[in-house]
Symmetry: C2
Subunit: 436 residues, 2 copies
Amino acid sequence: MITTLIRDFSKQVGQTVMVQGWVYNIRSSGKITFLQIRDGSGFTQAIVNQASVDPTTWQTATQLTIESSLTLAGTVSQHPKKQEYELQVTAITPIQLATAEFPIGKKEHGPDFLLEKRHLWLRSQSQWAVLRLRHFVKTGFQDYFNNQGYIELDTPTFTPTSCEGTSDLFEVEYFDRKAYLTQNGQLYLEAMCMAFGKVYDLCPNFRAEKSKTRKHLTEFWSLNPEIAFIDHEASLKIQEAAIKHMLEYVLQHARAELALLQRDLTDLQDTMAKPIVHYQYAEAIVELQKRGSSIQFGEDLGADDEVLLTADSTVPVIVKNWPRSIKPFYMKGYPYINKTADHDLVLNADVLAPRGFGEIIGGSQREDDYETLLAAMQAARLPLKDFDWYLELRKFGSVPHCGFGIGIERMTRWVAGVHHIRETIPFPRMINRITP
Amino acid sequence: MITTLIRDFSKQVGQTVMVQGWVYNIRSSGKITFLQIRDGSGFTQAIVNQASVDPTTWQTATQLTIESSLTLAGTVSQHPKKQEYELQVTAITPIQLATAEFPIGKKEHGPDFLLEKRHLWLRSQSQWAVLRLRHFVKTGFQDYFNNQGYIELDTPTFTPTSCEGTSDLFEVEYFDRKAYLTQNGQLYLEAMCMAFGKVYDLCPNFRAEKSKTRKHLTEFWSLNPEIAFIDHEASLKIQEAAIKHMLEYVLQHARAELALLQRDLTDLQDTMAKPIVHYQYAEAIVELQKRGSSIQFGEDLGADDEVLLTADSTVPVIVKNWPRSIKPFYMKGYPYINKTADHDLVLNADVLAPRGFGEIIGGSQREDDYETLLAAMQAARLPLKDFDWYLELRKFGSVPHCGFGIGIERMTRWVAGVHHIRETIPFPRMINRITP
């Protein structure tokens, strides 16, 4: 008898197998007990028929409780009508019988209760599916970048200063001094792309934001590529290719998970097949005003604007070349000859997911000229001596280079089609949540 | 003319190509200038022959400085005697001429200076090779676990309590409370393996250790698999298979990097081909005493002991089943019937690298019985209410499970054969080092 996984049942119809797992639900109809079983790889129905098992096995079946662990032996069969597989049970060996009532039942629970029970909530079908999708989103992107010759090089968590200003930083006692948790490893990645050409990091970033929206976590993961010798438009092409590859990878590996979440695949498939839509920032403002927004040139897009711009789109929307006044110091200027308030733009872009799912990538071409960068840092009143090393990169073989950040949770939220970002990370950390 | 990478020169002999990169050294012999070029993908020699280029190109070549960035056009040729490829230059376009002297020269620099210039030191051949190896070590392990159906699920950085006691923790101001930076995500992984079967995390861990040895970092990366339904010996087999797979992957992708570091491949190849050596802890103590150590039963192996036990070995050495008294609370007991001081052991193991490179993996079977675990936690005087959720995992379908932690920097140190761990992470963080 082979020990197998539920995920492999389709290849084992008619075979006698052994499965180890947990009971996630029980239904009985007199002489038949239907056990809903999960084993980490998938979910199945195990059928115990009193007429075809010995009395001890039948008794064991009737004594099982929700979330008990067990070993099952039986024959794999295909459901007569559906593309589903079941186990016709011949023997049951309990591993541990759960004697207490499983806290997560069929009734509706509030989000706080579920987050407090996150260690058990993870076992539910929807959470299982979302977090498996997260895995394939991550590995799909890694697959793309690794195949293209990128080197993953982690940026440090402990930093002496901040990349984007000192607000929203978490402070740590670091022996006899202060350190800050990284908000973004970009400056380090710029140093590394000058040594390795194409690099990325994939690590947690931290933001002590007091936002309580469904899009904010204090600890979130991002994958940040940084590439030497390319310009902004080339970077946007890479972003588009990476998204398409990731989606192909996810659809190849996790169709069952998408089906379980009842994800409508239209926008994922359209995104693979069609070009991404590009708006100049200035065009986006005009379009938003047409659609009823009160946004003015020079303002950041609000969450409502993001929805307004993408709700009808089945492919991501790029908004590029924003006013310098609302962007950080390190972005390279858009090459207009005459700067005016309307024309002092930078070579950056946000990628917005279709259907109002919001920003999934943000990136820019970096300023590579020493004098221009120095002036921008002085204008931003940054403590220059902390950035000596960063400026030095422009003294020794500065080259055009671009980078962007892929928000893993935001991307997973879109791919999975779930409402709240807290479901896209195993143990979410928010302003009021640090347990379990 | 195609734009190419130095890494691909072997496929382009005789072709006219364009390469973008940096000058890392210059040598001149009158009418020929030899430019040592790096482009992130590799290193090559570019030959500018005054007789075969126009006067402007020749003048440009003679004005280049170390770490200037440039675009080169030329023909790829194979070195007459070696398996090396060169570029016969026809045109040079400088991107940025480095006007200052590159701080890292040929003379010996102290480690502090090099760490302060880490953003530039990364460009040196040895650092480039070590960190590329790090990438392939990581992706080699990920390749193994992903192919085996594991799901990567990140554990949180912010934790309300400590897994292994509160010493050596970094404390963070988390809004109106304190949080601690994770030392290890094991407890969370245990929760997740009950939902997903086979999981791992790959993330930074933190330890506020005041150790200044060449094996300690305050921020280090580890890959931690956790697997439901297996016992300790099965876990050791997985560890061995994972190491072998990673080494095959590294040798497939990074032979040039190993050659550049002049890494003797004997122990890497032996480790792929031969079984790993197993010692019971008690046997290891006897063996160490034979070899001259003063270690006694009940003591932890010191760094010297690790060297003594592995210096002559070309394969890793496992030391397993240690006394409970020197191990954390969560390890499952070794199934002896009569416990004595000599026999109260746990199902754990350290994997030591060959040739004295020290511990590369540590793992154990976890206690899965509620009452036994509760007693162990009480004996360790842990604040039980902080671990309610962890204990709850033993109430709802507890199963045998094991996990282990692969230290990415320690593994890379062994694979690369470098002395100090600070060279195995892009921007090392140590007690006295948090910049750049």
